[in-house]
């Protein structure tokens, strides 16, 4: 009997193809919008997550200069409160720290032969690679001996390598940084763009002491990257660093920190929260159109029941029961929902592909959004079809047969 009802319902839809399609359109647009919108939200989330993760895991960053309560850093980069000694003390005295990488950086012009390229030159220790998730693709990173001797060696990023050397291997070549000669001993593995859209491969890494003394002529640090041993100890490490630095900087109680300690896990959590909100918002807006589509189903089904009152009367006179008629109309509504939902999935996926292709946004079609949107369209068909179907099934055969 169930399959009979399905067949009867399909016949009913076939008799009015255009109307069935237009009704479906509401669901198609609704499901498509949910999938496309959620894919945008998920795309943003994925992009933010990978770029934050790309910075390094369990990362804590210490910067000179105070933070105001609003989180804005004052005199960024120009403070001179962090020293090599601070960095060494963090590595030596704080439990739960697996690596410490102090650094300084400034933009310089690089020259090789007749090629030149202006980029960011970073002075740091070999631990920097580990802490910030960099890897050497060719050659090696410099050693701690190079740091002691302030050696003029450099490890260059892919973008720099391509711009200065083209197809040739840069290894062993000498480039000039701010007119001083440096030997290229390694090339970094490509890392792509950061969350801020920065090209992370457009960089040159040199020993910390070389950069401080031979290039910048300073003794202080601009940044200390600290890697905690595990996510669980991050908060504790962050606290300990603050305490240690306040002691080392002899800050009396009540005096604000003259440095800033930032925890990337916290940044990540905030970012995730934000992107989840965006996804939810986009999804909800799209879901409203799905509900509107459902109301469209109800509207058309009500018209259809009225129009087919006589048919219902004939069927009942011939022995159709309440359930027979209920099923017939309910299935019509669900078929509209299911078919609209399936087409909507296709439209949504195509839409999200088109968005990423034409607008260049990162989109991620999640299976969950497909399942949820599809399940919703079935439920909407059921829910908005139930009232008209019940109305049809409750018709009195004599009244229905008399209906003009």
């Amino acid at each position: 009997m169930f399959w009979e009802s399905v067949l009867i319902a399909l016949e009913g839809l076939k008799a009015n193809k255009m109307r069935a399609f237009l009704t479906m359109l509401g669901i198609i647009i609704g499901v498509g919008a949910v999938i496309a919108m959620v894919s945008i939200g998920m795309g943003v989330r994925q992009k933010v997550e990978t770029s934050i993760a790309g910075l390094g895991s369990n990362l804590i960053i210490v910067m000179p200069g105070a933070t105001t309560p609003s989180g804005v850093r004052l005199a960024a980069g120009s403070s001179t409160t962090l020293t090599n000694g601070d960095a060494q003390a963090i590595g030596r005295e704080i439990a739960g720290v697996s690596a410490v990488a102090p650094s300084v950086q400034r933009s310089y012009q690089l020259v090789y032969g007749n090629q030149n390229w202006t980029t960011n030159v970073l002075g740091t220790t070999p631990e920097y690679l580990e802490v910030r998730n960099f890897a050497v693709a060719a050659g090696t990173i410099f050693s701690s001996k190079d740091i002691d001797t302030r050696a003029r060696v450099a490890v260059i990023g892919q973008t720099v390598a391509t711009n200065l050397f083209g197809e040739f291997s840069p290894l062993g070549q000498t480039i000039r940084i701010n007119k001083a000669p440096f030997r290229v001993i390694g090339v970094l593995e490509a890392k792509g763009q950061s969350s801020m859209g920065q090209d992370q491969d457009d960089t040159v890494i040199v020993p910390l002491t070389t950069a401080q003394e031979r290039l910048l002529g300073v003794t202080w640090l601009q940044n200390i990257s600290v890697q905690a041993e595990s996510p669980e100890v991050i908060d504790k490490v962050q606290e300990d660093i603050t305490t240690l630095l306040r002691t080392r900087h002899r800050l009396a109680p009540g005096v604000p920190d003259n440095f800033t300690v930032r925890n990337l896990a916290a940044v990540m959590a905030t970012a995730q929260e934000t992107t989840s909100t965006i996804t939810l918002l986009l999804g909800n807006i799209a879901a409203i159109s799905l509900v509107v589509g459902g109301i469209g189903i109800m509207n058309i089904m009500l018209v259809s029941v009225t129009e087919r009152t006589r048919e219902i009367g004939i069927r009942k006179a011939l022995g159709a029961t309440f359930n027979n008629i209920l099923l017939q109309f309910l299935i019509e509504a669900v078929v509209i929902g299911v078919t609209g939902g399936l087409i909507g999935i296709g439209v949504g996926m195509a839409g999200s592909y088109a968005i990423s292709y034409f607008a260049g946004w990162n989109t991620v079609v999640s299976p969950i959004s497909i399942i949820v949107a599809f399940g919703f369209s079935v439920l909407i068909g059921l829910f908005f079809g139930l009232y008209p179907a019940r109305k049809a099934a409750l018709l009195d055969p004599i009244d229905a047969l008399r209906y003009e």
Binding site: M1, E4, I8, E11, A15, R310, E311, G313, I314, R315, K316, A317, L318, G319, A320, T321, F322, N323, N324, P397, I398, L401
Partner: protein
Amino acid sequence: MTIALRDITKIYQMGDTTVHALAGVSLDVAAGEFTAIMGPSGSGKSTLMNILGCLDRPTGGSYLLDGEEVATLSDDALAVIRNRKIGFVFQSFNLLPRMSALQNVALPMVYAGVDKHARLEKAAWAMGLVGLGDRQHHRPNELSGGQRQRVAIARSLVNDPAIIMADEPTGNLDTKSGNEIMAIFNDLNAQGRTVVLITHEPDIAACAKRVVHVRDGKIIRDERNQEVAPCSGKASSSPSKA
């Protein structure tokens, strides 16, 4: 299959006025009888027929169909009785316009749970019976009035009901087609089915062995014809012309 009505009333409330469409009807119909119901317009014939056919419920009284009280059955139970025990033929045919004649004929079997193959076979048989074997795939609007009524009769037969009921089955037809239809009813009755039909025309009523006269919602006369007039369309089981 016997019909026993006792003091059946049907009252319609129209605002302030109450219409006694049936004002206490008692009627017994034995199995295998051919009964015609006659009466002026508005006398309550259709109201009575709808109650007999389990399409409607009386306001009061008792209706025993085969010994079972049906006046108080649920909607679904009535649907099952309409489906299995009674074949109903309407004045206005009441065929589904989007279906072929064959599908229309097969429709009661859908609700009886007969499988598709058996359904179509039986429907084709019934269409042959009413002389429309060659019109199976026509839509109702591609058939003449007489043919449509024959499709409706075929439809009333497919679940092998013991009773065939017809509310002015010839009312929309010319005399010739009307006679052909009556011949079919005669044949069905000859095969042992109970037939109850409403008619306005005395010659048609003359074919029936029993004529019940109704007026103002009451039975005023119940006569049995000693001699049944020969119903004009003699070649009943195969009306030759369409």
